[in-house]
């Protein structure tokens, strides 16, 4: 039994080494290169299997994220297994189990339900596998080692501050009509986005500079689920916006601001505004967003969406790949926040990347300039 395991381990190591050898020279930073060249025999090498688990292929962003992380890790000399779980928690648990049996060095997990992975991650920990939470925090387990994400609170805050600055709320202007939306009630991040925006906007509601004619303004930021759109569904957001416009905007009343947490909701909201007869240049409201999806970038150029908060998912992929590399090589792992992301069991060591605001005038300089889209893709 013991002998068998020894053979298996030896085979695995040999395989990993041969793979590392086959791949092109690892292109790490000088600091990561140094130990590899000076003490190749003793220091752990880059290489081996890394499991990457993503929620679903049916949303554009996860396709981009998955492909990007794989590309980065492979360029560092790792073998990867990328799996999508069709937004089903059970499927994701099975995929993690199957991967654990293949003895990966690190698991990178973008969870579907951040609280449902405790038991399976205990198995991973028992097998000595390190776990990095990708973009979504994994809750209620001690067995998450690192967390990499964009600063989600800042995403909402940027949306709120954009509204604040554009309307001159600080100068006491108003009152303006606002319709707030929030993301899927089962998504941990949706509440954080909302909190960021609500902390900026709520004081103005209390002062009467912003009114919410539909009455759908949660009393506190903790009540955000009452206006959450299940599954971040574009069609549901469209119906909800239609209902609010028809029911609460009669006569000459017009909506001035729509706080939309992301682009998939914004797309439906913009469609509803168009149907209701709002015209760009005259009465089209400020609509916020997040993710810089192609369809929404086109809408920004057409004046139908004021802004989107762009999280360059490639930098998240780069960061995660770097963390994986540091874990495997036994180096200190880069983190910049060890206090704010508590998953109910511990403070998870996190690396937060800053999101960026994109508006009509900066679409070209930011999105095209950084090579995220080509001019052709967004119709420039």
């Amino acid at each position: 039994m013991k002998f068998k395991r020894l053979v298996a381990t030896a085979a695995g190591v040999a395989l990993a080494l041969s793979m590392a050898a086959c791949s092109t020279t690892p292109s790490g930073t000088p600091t990561t290169d140094a130990p590899a060249t000076t003490a190749a025999a003793e220091a752990p090498q880059a290489g081996g299997l890394i499991g990457i688990l993503m929620p679903t292929k049916s949303l554009e962003r996860w396709n981009n994220d998955g492909a990007n992380v794989v590309a980065k890790l492979e360029s560092l000399g790792y073998t990867t297994s990328l799996q999508y779980a069709n937004n089903k928690v059970e499927d994701q648990i099975s995929q993690i189990q199957n991967l654990i049996n293949q003895n990966p060095k690190v698991l990178v997990i973008a969870s579907i339900d951040g609280t449902a992975l405790g038991p399976v991650l205990a198995t991973a920990a028992a097998a000595g596998i390190k776990v990095i939470g990708y973009d979504r925090l994994i809750n209620g387990t001690p067995n998450i080692d690192y967390y990499a994400t964009f600063d989600n609170y800042l995403v909402g805050q940027l949306q709120g501050e954009y509204i604040e600055a554009t309307l001159g709320l600080k100068d006491g202007k108003g009152p303006f009509n606002l319709e707030p939306f929030a993301g899927s009630p089962d998504d941990n991040n949706a509440g954080v986005f909302f909190a960021g925006a609500w902390d900026v906007l709520k004081p103005y509601i209390d002062k009467g500079q912003i009114v919410v004619p539909s009455g759908k303004d949660p009393a506190t930021k903790a009540d955000w689920t009452s206006i959450g759109i299940q599954g971040w569904d574009t069609a549901k957001a469209q119906s909800e916006m239609q209902n609010r416009l028809s029911s609460f905007y009669t006569g000459d009343k017009k909506v001035d601001i729509v706080l939309s947490p992301n682009d998939s909701l914004a797309l439906g909201i913009e469609q509803a505004l168009e149907t209701a007869g709002y015209k760009v240049g005259t009465d089209w409201p400020i609509v916020t967003g997040q993710d810089a999806d192609i369809a929404n970038v086109k809408n920004i150029l057409a004046g139908k969406q004021a802004m989107t908060v762009w999280k360059d998912t490639r930098t998240l992929g780069d960061q995660v790949a770097k963390m994986v590399d540091q874990i495997v090589k036994g180096e200190t792992v880069d983190v910049n926040n060890t206090t704010d992301y508590n998953n109910g069991v511990k403070n998870v060591s996190s690396f937060l990347l800053p999101p960026e605001v994109v508006v009509q005038d900066t679409v070209e300089s930011i999105l095209v300039g950084k090579g995220y889209y080509t001019k052709d893709q967004i119709g420039l």
Binding site: S58, I229, Q238, L267, T275, N299
Partner: protein, 404 residues
């Protein structure tokens, strides 16, 4: 005699009464907001897909089958139609036509396995659900938006106000600017009146034909009462809808209306329609009476495929975008509408009017709960309970009638 008549009609119209009751309850609870003309317009647009799918699903269910694939097929066909317009810049009419043809092919694919290989429809369409969701994600890996205006108008547009507007006789009752005091769109009113006249003529002709064949008919007074109630209902809806400030009669209402008429005719007046009921009621009996049951099964699924394609076009047009995640749970919405509308799980029973009313009940619930700001988690729970109670009420009343 009268008791029997009332009992029979109550059962038939019970579900319609339930719809009226739900509308009234929500109209009061939302302080009239539910029946604001723009909301009526939106109600049509939001529920067009369920109404279209329920028509096909009804025939599937009557024949004793089920189709679990429609949500995925909606996403798949929507993705293909969107891809053609977005990437290949195909004329939108051609893209829609191609989408309908693909719908027929998908239906034929399901029909082939069900009718000729005799694989249970549950299994075939479960496979289809996975197959076409997967294909949809392949075709629509990126959300595609920015379609021609003509295409977006299918679900988002209104018919032109060719008859102009008529001053609202009740405008004085409401404050200036009230949504209920707006001028009336002439075309919407005209369509409503044509609808009423058509309905009366059609039922009168049916009665005359029954008399000429020596079949028993109910008392004329009952028919007149029925006409009066239906006319009032249509008039109220038309009147309210004609005041909407979005444009006029939604184009999608015409599409749905024409489909409802066609399918009411197909299920009740054609050989194919009778064969569907026969197959669902007693498959072996139908077979022994010379009905080609395999061909009927095949036809039902081809038809479902076609209607799914129509729903896909409407859904994609409404969103103005082709999304891989479109159509989630559409099959369940359609199935629930049929069952709420009185279709039997065992097959052989069900009416187009019932399925339409069932779909509207779900639609009104969705909108009413949303206006009342009910948490989306509770909305789901409430809809689940309504489905259960509606079907059990229907079954209990049928059983009681059977005993009496």
């Amino acid at each position: 005699m009268i008791k029997e008549l009332v009992g029979k009609n109550l059962r038939q119209y019970g579900i319609m009464l339930a719809l009226v009751a739900i509308v009234i309850i929500f109209a009061f609870a939302t302080k009239g907001r539910l029946i604001i003309p723009n909301n009526l317009w939106a109600l049509v647009q939001q529920n067009a897909y369920v109404l279209i799918l329920a028509l096909g699903m009804l025939m599937v269910i009557i024949a004793g089958h089920i189709d679990l694939s429609v949500g995925s097929v909606v996403a798949f066909i929507g993705a293909v139609v969107g891809y053609m317009m977005y990437t290949w810049h195909v004329n939108w009419i051609l893209a829609v036509a191609a989408g309908l043809v693909i719908g027929l092919l998908v239906g034929a694919w399901h029909g082939f396995w069900v009718a000729y290989v005799k694989v249970p429809a549950f299994v075939v369409t479960l496979a289809g659900m996975l197959l076409f969701r997967g294909l949809a994600q392949v075709v629509a890996a990126k959300t595609m938006a920015g379609f021609p205006a003509g295409f977006n108008a299918i679900a988002g547009g209104s018919l032109p106000n060719i008859f102009g507007h008529i001053p609202n006789p009740l405008a004085g009752l409401f404050a200036a600017g009230s949504p209920f005091g707006q001028p009336l769109d002439g075309l919407t009113l005209a369509i409503g009146i044509i609808g009423i006249v058509g309905l009366i003529l059609q039922s009168w002709r049916a009665r005359r034909s029954q008399i000429s064949h020596g079949l028993p008919v109910g008392p004329l007074s009952l028919l007149v009462v029925r006409w009066a109630l239906l006319s009032v209902a249509i008039l109220v809806v038309t009147y309210l809808l004609s005041m909407n400030l979005i444009g006029g009669t939604p184009i999608v209402l015409i599409i749905v209306g024409v489909l409802i008429l066609i399918y009411a005719f197909v299920t009740s007046r054609t050989v194919f329609g009778r064969h569907v009921y026969a197959v669902g009621g007693n498959r072996n009996g139908a077979l022994l009476s010379g009905v080609n049951t395999a061909r009927v099964d095949f036809g039902i699924f081809v038809n479902m495929g076609f209607l799914t394609a129509v729903a896909a076009v409407v859904t994609t047009s409404r969103a103005g975008a082709a999304v891989a995640a479109a159509g989630q749970n559409f099959e369940l919405d359609a199935i629930a509408s049929c069952f709420i509308g009185g279709a039997a799980v065992t097959g052989g029973v069900g009416k187009v009017a019932g399925a339409v009313v069932g779909a509207l009940i779900m639609g009104v619930l969705n909108m009413g709960l949303s206006i009342l700001n009910v948490d989306s988690n509770w909305q789901m729970a409430i809809k689940g309970l309504v489905l259960l109670f509606a079907v059990s009420l229907d079954l209990v009343s049928k059983r009681r009638n059977a005993v009496a």
